[in-house]
């Protein structure tokens, strides 16, 4: 199988799976709270509905506003294609950690600029909060995966995951435990989950991510929602493959790839369930406490890097 087809297939898989992952978090949360909740495929229905509607744009909004959904979607697709989710072979070899974090940040910045571009108070407020959070999250993402890269001596994600897949027992070190904790917190912050943000709130003044995208509608909103779901799926998939690398294919044979895709789906849905369950027990932090949480996760990531050198 051509590496390029494999990459496109993987991007498609993540794109199709992402709204389901979001649906799982919502459904699990509703059930645990004693509510009936929506169906797992509901986010897909919402995206389909929005895709059929023409978008509107606020008066005076410029190119940043109209470009952001496309930029966000394409960076998400690019990450979904290259990061070794299904197979460590193929173009996964070109998935460098720093590039992936850079692409994530590019999407974040595009959305923050779009928030400013709307010229509304909420857009600016959301963007300002998002950048405060992003400035603390992105270094943590980098450092946490650095801790894992010292073992194999490269920042190439394909090599890191392949090393884990060939010897899963070697993944469980104090360093990777710290790195996991740091990455998990960074994931919550990056994907606007409780305790950093509340994805289901209607209170404009408390929003972070939602405040930036308040002006989007129709197709543009569908793209933003879809790409945001993909970012959640990507980060959960990354967590799964870095810290539980079982089942990742090391070649590109059909059977291996199909099995790996199935395993990935199970792992993502499992993590989504865990995330939802954790959210039921969590409440949203006061905004001024968020930097404390993120500074804590950064410190853990730093300790993970130190530990990986000392105990290596």
């Amino acid at each position: 199988m051509s590496a390029w087809i494999a990459a496109a297939g993987q991007a498609l898989l993540i794109a199709l799976l992402a709204p389901i992952v979001t649906g799982v978090t919502r459904a699990v949360r509703a059930r645990l709270e004693g509510r009936a909740g929506g169906r797992i495929a509901q986010p897909w229905r919402d995206i389909r509905k929005l895709l059929r509607k023409p978008p509107t744009s606020p008066e005076g909004a410029g190119v940043f506003f109209s470009a952001a959904p496309v930029v966000l979607m394409s960076t998400s697709l690019l990450i979904a294609a290259t990061v070794p989710f299904v197979s460590t072979a193929g173009i996964a070899g070109s998935a460098d950690l720093i590039v992936v974090v850079g692409l994530l940040l590019l999407g974040t910045v595009a959305l923050a600029l779009a928030g400013l571009d709307t010229g509304t108070a909420f857009g600016g407020m959301g963007s300002s909060r998002e950048m405060t959070i992003a400035a603390l999250v992105e270094p943590t993402l980098l450092l946490a995966v650095f801790a894992l890269s010292t073992r194999v001596g490269t920042t190439n994600l394909g090599v890191i995951v392949a090393a884990g897949a060939s010897d899963p027992a070697a993944v469980f070190t104090p360093a990777s435990l710290l790195a996991f904790a740091a990455l998990a917190i960074a994931t919550l912050a990056e994907t606007a989950r409780i305790p950093v943000d509340n994805p289901s709130t209607h209170l404009e003044l408390t929003m972070v991510h939602e405040a930036m995208i308040l002006e989007y509608s129709g197709r543009d909103l569908a793209l933003v929602e879809w790409a945001s779901a993909m970012r959640l799926a990507i980060l959960l998939g990354l967590l799964a493959n870095l810290f539980a690398p079982w089942g990742v294919a090391t070649g590109t044979t059909w059977t291996a790839v199909v099995i790996a895709a199935a395993v990935l789906t199970v792992k993502m849905c499992g993590l989504a369930t865990l995330l939802a369950a954790a959210e039921v027990y969590a409440a949203k932090l006061r905004l001024f406490r968020v930097p404390e949480l993120l500074a804590g996760s950064f410190a853990m990531a730093l300790l993970a890097v130190l530990t990986s050198y000392i105990l290596a």
Partner: protein, 506 residues
């Protein structure tokens, strides 16, 4: 049986006399319950005038004093009491908008109630107001601009993302810290007080129940108490107990909803989901008790009507459930951290603004109409919780404590009640020709003390009903409490006050 309060009426002639009376009453522990203007015709006993009634009340024992001042209807001027009482300054602005009464030396003689589209010189409560003239272009609303390095404004509303009533909030913010918040309300003027005029007093109940949808019992009770005092109707003790119980049923379901909503505002959704479940149980109990989920239709002048007594097993299990939810929520460090120290209203501020209800109790003021102006004796079961912190946590805990106390009162009262009509015949209440009979009703609704003052003509028709929902007095306290609060905590602070827009803007 609690004694029937006697209302002292003092006619005041001059501004100086009014000031002396007010100073004395306030020093004597009275609070200003309402100021009501009346546009009297020449047939009125006092002659043609804009008659202003200042109602001062004090509790334990129940004391009520009315000061009556008359102004020339052609060019009404009154001395402003703003220097003596902050609530007075608000009532004066309300009268200025609705009656065209000019308060002399008022520090802020600006529109309050008046819709910006109404013509400037149209005062709808005056007898000569006629139908509403065509709306004019909106006039500017003077927001105070805060200048400074890094200060910016966030306008929110009047249309919000959630299903809430309309209100515009203008925040002047530096970073995330609120420097100043100005609430622009008054989008929901319905002319409620005008709608009462000319109605037969028995028909006013339905309207009173709809003043603020979540306070059907509180408002209809205050209304009936006012009517009964005006017409000298005695209410059977059994009906009094039914009313007291309905008041607590209303308090219970509203407080539980608020407790859940406060948890939801800090994204603690599970507590919210369970309070919703409990509230639904209570609404179904309400339906079996009165035939209406929000307890409408049970209270009427002269008595009360009950279909069934509430299922006390369910009330008890509800109270236990609630206690558990409150314990879990306050045991959660993040939830507690969010509530603690947020939007503090100090005791002094609370007293100065003249707040009522749980907002007052959370700041250490124990005023409650059930002890200050009782209509039935609740005995030892009634307890008035107070906290001194004045923050969101205190307002949350007041609700939790009051809800438990309500359940206890319902458990005490229900066995003493038999369902059915308990009623004093109000048929023969017509007075002498030209006789205007007036009465005041004070009831502790779930938000706080509600005051109604009704005037009934000789034919049993209402000539004027003045309504004061606690929200009218509590709204100004919200911006005060927001000092040093951060923007993302505003929804939480706002929910902890949970003031009525409909009850505020009649």
């Amino acid at each position: 049986m609690p004694h029937r309060p006697h209302t002292a009426v003092i006619e005041v002639g001059s501004a100086g006399e009014l000031g002396r009376h007010v100073t004395r009453l306030l020093a004597d522990g009275h609070r200003l319950a309402l100021i009501a203007a009346h546009h009297d015709t020449a047939q009125h006993r006092g002659g043609q005038a804009i008659r202003i009634v200042y109602l001062f009340v004090a509790g334990q024992p129940d004391r009520r004093v009315e000061l009556v001042l008359r102004a020339d209807p052609a060019k009404p001027h009154i001395p402003s009491l703003a220097a003596l009482s902050f609530p007075a300054s608000r009532f004066e602005r309300e009268m200025r908008d609705l009656f065209g009464v000019e308060p002399d030396n008022h520090p802020l003689p600006r529109q309050l109630v008046r819709h910006p589209h109404w013509p400037q010189d149209w005062h709808p409560m005056r007898l000569d107001a006629g139908t509403r003239p065509p709306l004019t272009g909106a006039e500017a609303f003077p927001f105070l601009t805060v200048d400074g390095n890094g200060v910016y404004e966030i306008p929110v509303g009047p249309v919000h993302a959630g299903l809430i009533e309309p209100g515009h909030f203008r925040f002047s913010v530096v970073g995330e810290t609120i420097l100043k918040m100005k609430a622009r309300l008054w989008y929901v003027h319905k002319g409620t007080e005008k709608l009462f005029e000319g109605k037969h007093f028995a028909d006013g109940v339905a309207l009173a129940e709809r003043i603020s949808g979540d306070t059907a019992v509180g408002h209809s009770l205050a209304y009936c108490l006012a009517i009964e005092e005006a017409l000298n109707i005695d209410v059977p003790p059994q009906a009094r107990r039914i009313r007291a119980m309905l008041l607590e049923l209303e308090r219970l379901h509203n407080h539980i909803a608020d407790i859940g909503a406060l948890c939801n505002d800090v994204a603690y959704g599970i507590a919210h989901a369970h309070t919703q479940r409990i509230r639904e149980t209570l609404l179904r109990i309400n339906k079996t008790v009165t035939g209406h989920r929000l307890l409408r239709g049970a209270i009427r002048p002269g008595g009360a009507h009950l279909l069934n007594t509430p299922d006390l097993m369910q009330i008890s299990s509800t109270a236990q459930d609630l206690a558990e939810i409150v314990e879990i929520a306050l045991g959660h460090t993040v939830v507690r951290e969010r509530f603690t120290g947020t939007a503090v209203l100090t005791r002094q501020q609370a007293a100065d603004v003249g707040v009522l209800g749980y907002v007052a109790k959370a700041s250490g003021l124990a005023y409650d109409a059930r002890t200050a102006h009782p209509f039935t004796n609740l005995g030892e079961t009634l307890s008035i919780p107070t906290f001194t912190e004045g923050d969101v946590l205190a307002r949350f805990r007041i609700r939790a404590a009051e809800a438990q106390n309500s359940a206890a009162i319902i458990r005490q009262l229900a066995p003493t009640i038999t369902p059915g009509h308990h009623h004093t015949e109000t048929g023969d209440v017509n007075g002498h020709d030209g006789d205007i009979r007036c009465g005041t009703g004070i009831a502790e609704g779930w938000r706080g003390t509600i005051t109604h003052r009704a005037e009934v003509g000789s034919d049993g028709r209402l000539s004027r009903v003045k309504i004061v929902d606690p929200s009218f007095l509590n709204w100004p306290a919200l911006p005060v409490a927001l000092t040093e609060t951060i923007v993302p905590d505003f929804p939480l602070a706002n929910k902890s006050f949970n003031l009525s827009y409909a009850g505020n803007d009649l």
